[in-house]
Amino acid sequence: MSAEVLSKAVNLLSFVALGLTILLIVRTRLEGQVRVFALQSLVLALLAEMIALYSGSLELLAVGVALVVVKGVMIPRVLNRAVAIIGLERVAAPYLATAPALIICGILTIIAFYVMTPIAASNPLPTADAIPLAFAGVLVGFFIMVNRRRAVTQILGFLMLENGIFLLALLATYGVPFIVEMGVFLDVLVAVLIMEVFVYRIKDNFDSIDVGAMGKLKE
């Protein structure tokens, strides 16, 4: 694979990944949102494997496999279980409606290009062109967390943000060292399991997974 082909493929897949993050805003049913996240994780894994083949890195190859296992299979299962147990409240209930939310995504993408283009320009790797797209994914993930009231959607926003950061590190440096990447996966997995417990506790205590129902703590 030549550097030019890799660069084009990376651009395309990063674009798809950002598109999937934005798709999370359009999707209103929680099961659909979980599927979008799983699909995005698979796209990132494909990207990681391509870069691994290009750079001949066995570690990155293993990271890609772990990504499929943890974020493509395990975490979506945990989330689906949570959605099934919660039952009724499957609509995602954003603060902002879809149309203005999409406009904000556009603005965030422009900001991402503004901040990250100088960094990308100074980077000699063939994958560097897509760095602003990855950062846009981080910002949109953050926006999803702020915009959605449902605890499950907040978790999905957090995971999309994590995916964006993984992609950013992958594009800028071909991934951080193996031990760090594995530790990060472990942290994310434990965080999601803890968040799942909290979804149940919030449901039990407030009879809703609407985080807006909480609001006792002030001053």
């Binding site: 960094i119 951080v176 530790g183 990060v184 942290d187 434990v190 909480m214 001053e219």
Partner: protein, 482 residues
């Protein structure tokens, strides 16, 4: 060897405690582990302060004087809080809640373990993992009481800290990229980055530092990322509040200091200084606003942590020998004073069953030891002589008045507002008529004895700065490039 022992003791303790069935055994294991951690920590600190740099597991762990200072804070205050925790948890959770008692002590040691990994590793990626680990270890501790407010606090803490720390990962990855591009194949090791710092791409390092300050600043409780802090610190059980406010915030600061040393060498000192001074002043402002007429004494202590982290950031930002020296000294002083006060707040809560200031009356009469210690601790915290925080605050603002007079003067004004607000609140609690049904006795009187150590250190450091301690801090200054 000792270094690996320091990390393995709390980890093994957490595992063993999870297996225990009898409460007495759980508590015994807990105390033994805390004391063993303290002893191992002391051995390591003694070696490092004699000039050694300890390493373990290849280049994964590396303890220099800055790490040793943090190890001292974690293990010492960890031991103090662990002793009190036994009595406090006995009062809070009876034998009907044994599984939660076990969970508490298990997570207590996991919490200590993650903090120790964060401050002893040389690998910035592993440090990130460990700092995220501190959040995961403490979130169930915040929610230990299963109330609605503690649930809300814990969820907010989990989400905001996770997002904050995720941003710190961007910073770490950018620094790694800057290092890998210049120094060739290096690991994400701080010592290697520090050595190569002069050659790093300044544009990348600047952007990275912004992410680092937002990310680790969230963990350190800097405004405006502090919003989880008053909730989580006030809802957690007292010994955990003591460790979160007195120790964990410093771990966030520690991470920022490591990155600041690299950033200073790469782009000059002014860049980081301006950011830290700005956020330090904002933290002081937020604390001042919420400390005037604060209605809940645990939240009062939590906002005071935002204030003190702000003061430390001002010291780091003012820079120079005295600015950074004062900041390091204030890290120690605030840790001692805040853990003392949060533990006492647990005693007040057990006595009055309320965290509202207006429901606590006549503390000095109803619980003389708790009241007297609380008053003395408060004097230390708001910076009255002869206690140590007075010295460190004086050093910091004196250094600031010479270099950044406007910022320092603003800081002093905000400090005076905080002073007045907190003194008024404490005044309401200490005097007046206690509710008639309260007997005149301290809760957990004997469990307060270890606090004598905090108190003695606050006095000693306030009256004389022992020269071995100054020498140790000067070693840290050298590491930070001052």
């Amino acid at each position: 060897m000792t270094l690996l022992g320091l990390l393995l003791i709390p980890l093994a303790a957490a595992g063993l405690i999870a297996l225990t069935r009898r409460r007495a055994l759980t508590e015994l294991l807990h105390i033994l582990a805390a004391l063993a951690t303290l002893a191992t920590g002391a051995a390591i600190i003694a070696q490092v302060w004699n000039g050694a740099v300890l390493t373990a597991a290849g280049d994964l762990f590396r303890v220099d004087a800055l790490s040793a200072l943090m190890v001292a804070i974690v293990t010492f205050l960890g031991a103090i809080a662990s002793l009190y925790a036994v009595g406090y948890i006995r009062a809070e959770l009876d034998d009907a809640h044994l599984s939660r008692v076990r969970l508490f002590f298990m997570l207590f040691h996991l919490f200590i373990f993650t903090m120790l990994v964060a401050v002893t590793t040389d690998n910035l990626g592993v440090m990130w993992i460990a700092v995220e680990g501190t959040t995961l270890a403490t979130v169930f501790l915040v929610n230990l009481r299963h109330t609605r407010t503690s649930l809300e606090a814990a969820y907010k803490y989990l989400i905001l800290s996770s997002v904050g720390i995720a941003l710190a990962f961007i910073g770490t990855a950018l620094v790694y990229y800057a290092g890998a591009a210049k120094a060739g194949e290096i690991a994400v090791n701080w010592s290697a980055l520090r050595a190569a710092a002069g050659a790093l791409n300044p544009e990348v390092v600047r952007l990275a530092f912004v992410f680092i300050v937002i990310g680790y600043g969230t963990k350190a409780g800097l405004a405006p990322m502090h919003t989880w802090l008053p909730d989580a610190h006030s809802e957690a059980p007292a010994p955990i509040s003591a460790l979160m406010s007195g120790v964990l915030l410093n771990v966030g600061l520690y991470a920022m200091m490591r990155f600041k040393a690299v950033t200073d060498a790469a782009v000059g000192e002014e860049f980081a200084a301006r950011i830290l001074i700005g956020m330090g002043l904002l933290s002081l402002l937020v604390a001042a606003i919420f400390l005037v007429r604060q209605r809940n004494y645990k939240r009062m202590l939590a906002y005071s942590s935002v204030e003190h982290i702000g003061i430390i950031c001002l010291g780091l930002g003012f820079g120079g020998y005295w600015g950074v020296f004062g900041a390091l000294l204030h890290v120690v002083n605030h840790a001692l004073a805040k853990s003392l006060l949060f533990i006492l707040s647990g005693n007040i809560l057990l006595k009055y069953h309320s965290a509202e200031i207006h429901e606590v009356r006549g503390l000095l009469h109803a619980a003389p030891w708790t009241g007297a210690l609380f008053l003395a601790g408060m004097f230390a915290l708001i910076g009255l002589p002869p206690f140590a925080p007075f010295i460190s605050e004086f050093i910091i603002f004196r250094a600031g008045l010479e270099i950044y007079p406007w910022a320092a003067a603003t800081g002093v004004i905000l400090l005076v507002i905080v002073f007045g607000g907190m003194l008024a609140s404490v005044n309401q609690m200490l005097y007046g008529e206690p509710p008639v049904e309260l007997p005149r006795v301290d809760a957990l009187r004997f469990w307060l004895v270890p606090l004598g150590a905090n108190f003695a250190l606050l006095l000693v450091l306030g009256l004389t700065l022992p020269s071995p301690f100054i020498a140790a801090l000067e070693q840290v200054l050298k590491i930070l490039g001052v």
